[in-house]
Symmetry: C2
Subunit: 199 residues, 2 copies
DNA sequence: AAACTCAGAGTACAGTTGTACACCTTGATT
DNA sequence: AATCAAGGTGTACAACTGTACTCTGAGTTT
């Protein structure tokens, strides 16, 4: 059962979370947001904040969770598209770039503030993406574990780096960036195959 | 001529710059430093700050300049070592890693705070490194311009990414990271050669 | 219907911030 | 030797911060 009260509470909780995300921009990362600004943007009194989070740190952790969830969705969506056939690299990069446009605030959170918990969170996400890709590469390309890991990690780093660059850039530039990234991943793929066969 | 006054002024100016750098840590990036904290760390009164910089923004720009200068030194030192022979990739990565240990604060400034001017500064540095490497690759490996650019850019991104990761990590982990990075660059190099020959 | 719970607002306060002003001290200039 | 210039300090203040306290209105439980 979900009482009217619980619904209301969830609603203003979302208001706060969304307000926090919305405040992120090219110039503004999470750590220079104040509790008061967030509540103001959400149209609430500063004290209302405490009914939902104990402090900004806790809100930060929740935003990180939310970001993690979205990235999971991103991955499953890419997997789905790949199953329908086509270049794995192209599909992955395109899916990633679409997500960046759609959920810019999530990437801002993870890519713009690289200290404390946010840095750790990004590191975890990169690890997670790396492991998934690593497994795939071992299976699909018959790579040995070490080479697969090297390729997977380099690939993910290039992609996240492109993501950071794509955040505040016009469409043309973003398109070029996408093309470049695809070529770079293909380059790494070639190198990986060769390195694998010479072992 | 350098009067006693000018010397003194330069001395406390350095005091402020060094204090600012010193405050940077894994948890603390430039944008959450306050003017008062910096002057306090330098052992000065808050107002003394204004005799040297108009505000924290200006100090930030000066730190960025300083960082740029150090990276120039890093590059020329790498070039010097490379002339003495040996694997270009290994020498470059090792030189980079040594610099990170020695001038951690510079990398913190550029790699930890990725919004506003700092983001732009990092982007400039990556561009600059990319161009230099790109030129070298065209000449040394007879690559065509586009392939050289792709390789150079991917290489620099991997290296800077490793730098960010190396910042707060124990020696063993850093050693592993160095090894991994070298292998990844070699992988990219193989891929680049192949991509180049198939055009 | 009465009693209770609790999300939110209003007021209040102490700590920190950037910065303006008046001052002092000391090196530089005349 | 007298005057000036300028780097540094102390005081002061308004703006903003997080957060404690009290109160209220409306949903919930009895």
């Amino acid at each position: 059962m979900s009482s009217i009260r619980a619904q209301q509470k969830e609603k203003t909780r979302r208001l706060l979370i969304d307000a926090a995300f919305a405040q992120l921009s090219a110039e503004r990362s999470f750590s220079n947001l104040s509790l008061r600004e967030v509540t103001k943007a959400a149209g609430l009194s500063p004290n209302a904040f405490y009914r939902h989070f104990s402090d900004m740190n806790e809100l930060g952790l929740i935003l990180i969770d939310e970001a993690g969830l979205m990235l999971k969705k991103l991955r499953s969506q890419a997997r789905l598209r790949i199953k329908k056939g086509g270049s794995v690299v192209k599909i992955s990069v395109l899916t990633f770039m679409e997500f960046i446009e759609q959920y810019a605030h999530i990437f801002r959170l993870l890519l713009q503030e690289r200290s404390g918990v946010f840095r750790a969170a990004l590191s975890r996400e990169i690890d997670s993406f790396t492991k998934a890709l690593c497994g795939y590469l071992q299976q699909a390309n018959k790579l040995n574990a070490e080479v697969a890991y090297l390729q997977a990690n380099a690939t993910i780093i290039i992609v996240f780096s492109a993501a950071a660059e794509a955040l505040d850039v016009d469409q043309k530039r973003r398109h070029d960036l996408t093309k470049r990234t695809i070529l770079q991943l293909q380059m790494i793929d070639k190198g990986s195959l060769e390195m694998n066969s010479s072992r």
